[in-house]
């Protein structure tokens, strides 16, 4: 028994990602067609040569036909998966395992979300029928629980916490301003960020990720076949997923300054990938910055900063584009946007660009060859966490 991983057995050989944003003129079908088409053309792969498909979407369709009908796929296996905001990563993870198992030669992982048809500005969806006792609070509110808890535990003055959060939003907007596919492509001043209207707790509007429409896709094959499709494949080094038991919302032992699901999934992925010191070994990380306090906590959970120190590292610029470990160089959920089912694959798309030297104005100049994606779904205390490590060279 154990999580042995599939290090260097699967390669990404093609990727596509639509611009994220308010696509009033595009349906989920359009976004899937656009991202799948780009993934194929990125490596000259014919869609009909893809043997099996995975589709991640949380709210934009049920069943495999959500993908097979718009793409007119003839009787191929299509598996629709859902795992909260980590849905796109779940699509990728399952597709990887299908290749690693030897069952298929060439597969595609897709993800899509069409959020802007709801008629509401934030995330709005119906839960299954229930007894009405679950706290009906918004996503920013559950994540805002982190901020007073972190401030209390590490004696960070609340105004300094606000500066830390503001720095993260500012940094991710700076990065997004260098990304032509991002939902928000302009720099936002720290003054504007920290004086924006409050949404929940101390979170202002700029502390929240963009709610958007978008699609992304990746084509995978066995590592030994990768060079048939591209001379610059990415190799899957580690894949980990942890679904929590919900102990944090049940037990006073949880203090809202960490995600146990993240530390567990990160440890698993690092072990599979042979990473000992992520901060010095990774070229970059795409992390689940759904709200700015989340990114603070993730820096510690992913081992990028010691416990209680992430807030100082953030202010010191460690995770800026020109810092020791750039985090969310594409703008992250914050400014690239967060179409749920597509986000996990969007993170991999940035790794694909950066490790292949195709990131343009935001290209990170580094000799490091590995990158991390981290995708979270649920709420502090009760969530799913996905961590992947990919690299441009086989070990």
């Amino acid at each position: 028994m154990g999580s042995t991983g599939i290090c260097d057995r699967v390669a990404i050989v093609g990727m596509g990602c639509t611009p994220f944003g308010e696509h009033w003129n595009k349906s989920a079908d359009d976004l899937l067609i656009d991202s799948v088409t780009e993934a194929c053309s990125s490596s000259g792969i014919d869609l009909k040569d893809v043997d099996a498909f995975w589709l991640g979407t949380m709210l934009s369709g049920f069943g495999g036909t959500t993908l097979s009908v718009p793409l007119k796929l003839p009787y191929k296996p299509v598996t629709r998966v859902e795992n909260f905001c980590a849905t796109g990563s779940e699509s990728f993870r399952n597709a990887c395992y299908a290749v690693a198992s030897g069952a298929y030669d060439l597969v595609m992982a897709t993800g899509v979300e069409k959020l802007k048809d709801s008629g509401y500005s934030g995330l709005a969806y119906a839960n299954r029928p229930d007894d009405g006792t679950e706290e009906a609070i918004s996503a920013p509110a559950v994540f805002s629980y982190l901020e007073p808890a972190y401030a209390e535990k590490y004696a960070v003055p609340r105004d300094v916490m606000k500066e830390v959060m503001t720095h993260i939003a500012w940094k991710n907007h700076q990065n997004g301003a260098r990304n032509p596919r991002a939902q928000f492509q302009s720099d936002v001043s720290k003054q504007t960020i920290c004086t924006a209207p409050l949404v929940a707790g101390s979170l202002g509007i700029f502390d929240c990720s963009g709610v958007s429409d978008g699609g992304a896709a990746a084509i995978l094959c066995r590592a030994e076949d990768a060079r048939k499709y591209t001379d610059r494949p990415l190799y899957v080094k580690g894949l980990a997923l942890a679904a929590g038991s919900g102990v944090g919302v049940l037990s006073p032992s949880y203090d809202y300054t960490t995600f146990d699901e993240v530390t567990k999934s990160a440890a698993d992925a690092y072990r599979q990938a042979g990473i000992r010191d992520p901060r010095s070994e990774l070229a970059m990380a795409e992390v689940h910055d759904c709200f700015t306090p989340t990114e603070v906590v993730l820096m510690e959970d992913l081992g990028f900063a010691p416990r209680g120190e992430a807030w100082k590292e953030v202010l010191a610029g460690t995770f800026d584009l020109d810092g020791q470990l750039p985090v969310n160089p594409d703008g992250g959920l914050k400014s690239f946007g967060h179409p749920i089912g597509a986000s996990g694959l969007r993170m991999l798309f940035e790794c694909w660009l950066q490790l292949r030297g195709e990131a343009g104005a935001r290209q990170i100049d580094t000799g490091r060859t590995r990158a991390l994606t981290h995708n979270l779904g649920g709420r502090p205390g009760r969530c799913v966490s996905f961590v992947s490590v990919v690299g441009s060279r086989p070990d």
Partner: protein, 473 residues
């Protein structure tokens, strides 16, 4: 059966006549009224009063029935007493019935229970208002009271005599479905009540063998305030023996007013003292009681006195919020989907949680789970749980938020993760509080509330936490 315990509830919020006048101009007097919050109704206030009363119950008190009296029911056809029954965690074999319609109903129910040999919880709860600018709006009040009726051996007061007189005349009325009452000319009602009140009072005192000067406490209640005032003067009871009039501070809470008034008297009455209550409603009900020795021990168990409820910490409400909360101001709703109705099946399956706020505690390792879980999160023992009510336990805020995005009938929604003193954690909404009333470490207690009413008319009842404002937290 005799009165063996009692409780009262007055909501946290207050509306002053001055704030009504600031909006409407000439309307209103000089008083203040209590206002049920947007998440309260007759049912939830009834639960609060009953919890206060049950805290005073004799050890051997086992209720056989629950009677709920209101003129402002949250539902008709469906029994409201069942939600109270469930919120109090009463067993299925305890009967639960609604009474109401007329504000007089309370006197009748108490008389019936007194004459029966069935122990009972009798709750009166009302939300009273009227058209904007009306006297009913300004002088009405929201509140609840509860009598525990049990063995005469445990009685707090013994009833010496009572008299009820009835007459048919047009004082006040409301057609079902209307949201405000109408009244005939004030002076007509006053003159109609005069002989009725006198007849009941005189007869009850005569039967009891008690003179007017022997009366230590006189409580007169009724929705006709002129008639009430006139009767007090006429009664001849010494001014110092007239019960303190609370209506200028909390308003007139209709069916609940008599119970609140008696509770207020009992909070300070001495054994042997004579209490007379007179209720003027479509007739008159006069009751002569003598306070027993047990009043002191019952009083010692009271969580909050009526004085505390009336004059303790409270929130000032703007007239705009009042009108909004009562549905009289059609405000722009939050731009969020309206929350879904609680579904019947899940609500039934989890009624011990939803209504009784019952947790489960692992019989193996002692870990508490809210809501009840089948598998222990700590030791993973399966189906090895003991059910535990946590509604009457206090808790501490672990972390919190002010949610300006979520749907709420009265935004912003304040929520917190709270850790119960007896173990276990749950997420909860915070009631009767503003953003400045909450911090990590704030002490809270649980209160039964109506979270919202779904579009199909179903009220979503569940518990919230409210900051403890007493010195002893």
């Amino acid at each position: 059966m005799s009165l063996v315990g009692y409780g009262a509830y007055v909501p946290y919020w207050r509306l002053t006549d001055t704030s009504i006048r600031a909006v409407l101009g000439s309307s209103g007097g000089k008083g203040t009224r209590a206002v049920a919050a947007f998440d309260e109704d007759a049912t939830t206030m009834g639960v609060e009063a009953a919890r206060e009363a049950l805290a005073t119950a004799p050890e051997n008190f086992v209720p056989e029935a629950l009677y709920f009296v209101t003129t402002s029911p949250a539902y008709i056809d469906k029994t409201n007493a069942t939600a109270i029954h469930a919120a109090l965690g009463l067993p299925q074999h305890v009967a639960a019935y609604d009474f109401g319609g007329a504000s007089r109903s309370f006197c009748g129910v108490v008389d019936l229970v007194r004459a029966s040999n069935q122990t009972a919880i009798v709750i009166a709860s009302d939300m009273r208002t009227g058209l904007p600018g009306s006297a009913d709006e300004a002088t009405g009040g929201d509140g609840a009271s509860c009598f525990l009726m049990g063995s005469p051996d445990d009685s707090v007061v013994e009833v010496v005599a009572s008299t009820s007189v009835t007459d048919e005349f047009l004082d006040r009325w409301r057609v079902p479905g209307d949201d405000a009452s109408a009244v005939w000319e004030d002076r007509f009602g006053e003159s109609a009540y005069k002989p009725l009140g006198r007849a009941a009072f005189t007869d009850a005192l005569k039967k009891a063998g008690v003179g007017v000067d022997d009366v230590d406490h006189l409580a007169v209640t009724g929705l006709h305030s002129r008639a009430v005032r006139a009767f007090k003067t006429w009664s001849g009871v010494r001014p110092e023996s007239q019960a303190e009039d609370l209506t200028s501070r909390i308003g007139n809470s209709g069916t609940a007013a008599q119970g609140i008034s008696l509770a207020h008297i009992l909070d300070s009455a001495e054994p042997g003292e004579i209490i007379v209550t007179v209720a003027l409603a479509d007739g008159a009900d006069a009751t002569v009681m003598r306070v027993t020795e047990r009043v002191a021990s019952v009083r010692a168990r009271r969580p909050r006195t009526v004085s505390r409820l009336v004059d303790g910490p409270h929130g000032q409400l703007s007239y705009g919020s009042f009108l909004t909360w009562r549905g009289r101001l059609n405000r722009e709703p939050p731009r969020r989907p309206k929350p879904a109705s609680p579904a019947a099946g899940p609500a039934l399956r989890r009624k011990e949680w939803k209504y009784g706020l019952a947790a489960s505690r692992c019989a193996n390792c002692g870990t508490r789970h809210l809501p009840a879980a089948r598998i222990c999160i700590q030791c993973h023992a399966s189906d090895h749980m003991l059910v535990e009510r946590v509604a009457d336990e206090r808790a501490t805020v672990a972390t919190y938020t002010v949610d300006r995005l979520a749907y709420s009938p009265s935004p912003p929604l304040i929520a917190a993760m709270i850790d119960y003193d007896g173990g276990g954690r749950a997420g909860t909404e915070i009631a009767d509080a503003g953003p400045d009333d909450i911090a990590i470490g704030t002490r809270v207690e649980m209160t039964f509330r109506r979270l919202y009413t779904a579009e199909n008319g179903v009220h979503n009842y569940f518990w919230k936490a409210r900051p403890i404002r007493e010195a002893n937290k």
